[in-house]
């Protein structure tokens, strides 16, 4: 997958967006000192991350480094133990009132999640619904769109991911790559302002990886803010605006992907990259 196309895709002004201290505007995701433990096992040990609107941030790291857990914290699938995560300025999972944090009700959390799309490693399509049903389910059920409008938009989205001819198929009839593209269309149907990708190509046959990455590149070109947990170095190099390398629950280093991949500053990054490249 590593065609060497030295970054031309969407990389104007590479300097301005590398994790520079935020002024608070234009920041889509702001995580501060995020800690997460499962029982006595501390998985995240203080993660700081800033992602600007329209930026593609790639999370890289060995398995068990906490990158997937961190991604799941962003839409509150996992509750964090300390720190804070803000998406578009809004605190995730909690409300500040009178100087104290209040846990959000389930309905409020659900409302927050509607503007954050997520794509899973194992697709998680609804097997009892057709492709069209998968994409229209949430917008119709949650009152975002009328049924006819949702169908029309779903057809457009599926056309966009190259599955315009599969509307009536069930997920079980599709290949892994096709299923993952449906999953992307399903997330987009909620018109999210942020898309989270949790190893979207790890469960795919090698020859199917490309079709999913192409859809993601297309999304990135359209200016979607994306956080991508991935092992696809080629993708990170080509479309990533920042690359964050995690290990053992901390951010080891981050910066411009081309820069980090070419000249890693830390030994840990270097040994990891040597193995995956």
């Amino acid at each position: 997958m590593s065609e060497l196309i030295p970054g031309q895709a969407g990389a104007p002004a590479a300097e301005s967006r590398t994790g520079a201290p935020a002024d608070g505007t234009g920041l889509m995701v702001r995580a501060e000192q995020v800690h997460k433990s499962f029982g006595s096992l501390e998985v995240l040990k203080g993660i700081d991350l800033q992602v600007r609107a329209g930026e593609v941030c790639c999370l890289l790291g060995p398995s068990g480094s906490g990158k997937s857990t961190f991604l799941r914290c962003i839409n509150h699938l996992e509750k964090i133990n300390a720190g804070s995560i803000r998406v578009d300025g809004e605190l995730i999972g909690y409300r500040e009132r009178g100087g104290r944090l209040h846990e959000m009700r389930e309905k409020e959390v659900a409302a927050q999640r509607r503007s954050i799309g997520m794509v899973f490693q194992r697709f998680n399509l609804f097997p009892h619904m057709t492709v069209l049903g998968n994409v229209t389910e949430a917008p119709v059920l949650l009152g975002r769109e009328k049924k006819a409008a949702a169908r029309e938009r779903a057809a457009q989205l599926l056309e966009r991911v190259g599955l315009g001819d599969k509307l009536g198929a069930y997920p079980g009839q599709l290949s892994g790559g096709q299923q993952q593209r449906v999953a992307i269309a399903r997330a987009l149907a909620m018109r999210p302002k942020l898309m989270l990708f949790d190893e979207p190509t790890s469960a795919l046959d090698p020859e199917l990886v490309g079709e999913v990455l192409d859809v993601m590149k297309d999304l990135a070109r359209d200016g979607m803010t994306m956080i991508v947990v991935t092992h696809e170095i080629g993708f990170a190099r080509e479309v990533g605006d920042t690359l964050v390398f995690m290990d053992g629950g901390v951010v080891v280093e981050s910066g411009d992907p081309r820069e980090v991949i070419a000249n890693p500053r830390h030994e840990r990054t270097r040994t990891f990259l040597a193995k995956v490249l």
Binding site: R113, M118, H128, E137
Partner: protein, 329 residues
């Protein structure tokens, strides 16, 4: 698959000529079974105590048909409807985050699974002995009234005489439905837990609430696991309506057949009639269960997917997929 030979267009290979394996054991089994069947028929035909003509004459009489329709069929349908509905509620309670609901659900399933159905039915049928009226209102109202110096305080919202409502059909229905709900709760719980965690997460990530994702995503998928045992439960329920004899519910198939038998001293013919009726009714249910399972299995599993694939394949080749069978020697 045919990429190595594109010149011949789908040339069928010659059928393989091989002597099939012989199965002498099958012929022995057939012979043994034939003898056994003959012995059984001999038993049925030569014993006059069966009194077949009497049985056929009585088993279609109006009171028996009414008992079958109301006491057996209607009772089964009603008890299962209440049982399944209540069972889903109890199962969802059992899996909820609320520890109190969880505890109540556990207590419910514990009690109704621990008491035998027959005993439960006898209890519900005779509840009028304990309370001649069942009323709803403030508990301990009279006792509380005495504390404050009020004599005979009654804070009852509504009530009914147990002899009016809790007899016969209603008592039996209550007993069967409540007990069924406990078993259904366990079946539904297993079904819900069988659905992949990723389904819940995907639905949550789309912004669905717990109720929404349960209704639209998890329960429809759990159905595949819930339906087969529910079919079995329905069949068991149909047969358990015969226990209503002990409530007693008089408008019921077995009660009626039993009564005819005792009245005419032709007990055994009526028991045979009961066997035949229950065989007939459960057979209908078995057919229904087959179609239900097929419906809820669509798009799933090896069987469902194979069917879909087969449909695509036959459309492609124009039918005839049995080129691999061995020709007769």
């Amino acid at each position: 698959m045919e990429s190595h030979d594109t010149s011949t267009v789908r040339a069928r290979p010659e059928p393989l000529r091989a002597v099939p394996v012989r199965h002498p054991g099958r012929w022995v089994a057939v012979a043994v079974l034939a003898v056994l069947v003959a012995m059984f028929v001999h038993l049925l035909v030569t014993n006059d105590a069966f009194n077949w003509s009497f049985m056929v004459d009585k088993m279609f009489r109006p009171p028996i048909i009414e008992g079958l329709l109301r006491g057996t069929v209607l009772m089964t349908v009603s008890a299962m409807l209440i049982g399944v509905t209540l069972g889903v509620v109890v199962a969802v309670m059992r899996l909820s985050d609320n520890p109190i609901l969880r505890g109540v659900a556990w207590l419910y399933t514990w009690f109704f699974r621990a008491v035998p159905r027959l005993v439960l039915l006898a209890v519900f049928g005779n509840i009028g002995i304990l309370w001649s009226r069942i009323e709803f209102g403030v508990p301990f109202d009279t006792q509380l009234g005495q504390l404050f110096g009020i004599d005979n305080l009654q804070l009852r919202l509504f009530g009914f005489s147990s002899r009016d409502i809790l007899t016969g059909f209603m008592a039996g229905l209550l007993g069967l439905a409540l007990s069924e709900a406990a078993y259904m709760a366990e079946i539904v719980r297993a079904g819900i837990q069988s659905v992949d965690e990723g389904q819940t997460e995907a639905a949550q990530a789309l912004g669905m609430s717990r109720g929404q994702l349960l209704r639209r995503v998890v329960l429809p998928q759990a159905m595949r696991v819930i339906i087969p045992p529910t079919g079995n439960e329905t069949i068991a329920m149909l047969k358990d309506t015969s226990l209503l004899l002990y409530v007693p519910v008089s408008v019921e198939l077995f009660f009626q057949l039993d009564a005819v038998g005792k009245r005419t001293f032709q007990i055994f013919p009526m028991y045979v009639a009961a066997c035949l009726w229950y065989l007939f009714l459960t057979s209908i249910l078995l057919v229904g269960q087959y179609f239900l399972e097929r419906h809820f299995g669509k798009g799933y599993g090896p069987a469902g997917r194979a069917r879909l694939r087969l449909r695509g394949m036959t459309a492609e080749t124009g039918g005839g997929g049995n080129s691999g069978t061995v020709g007769p020697a």
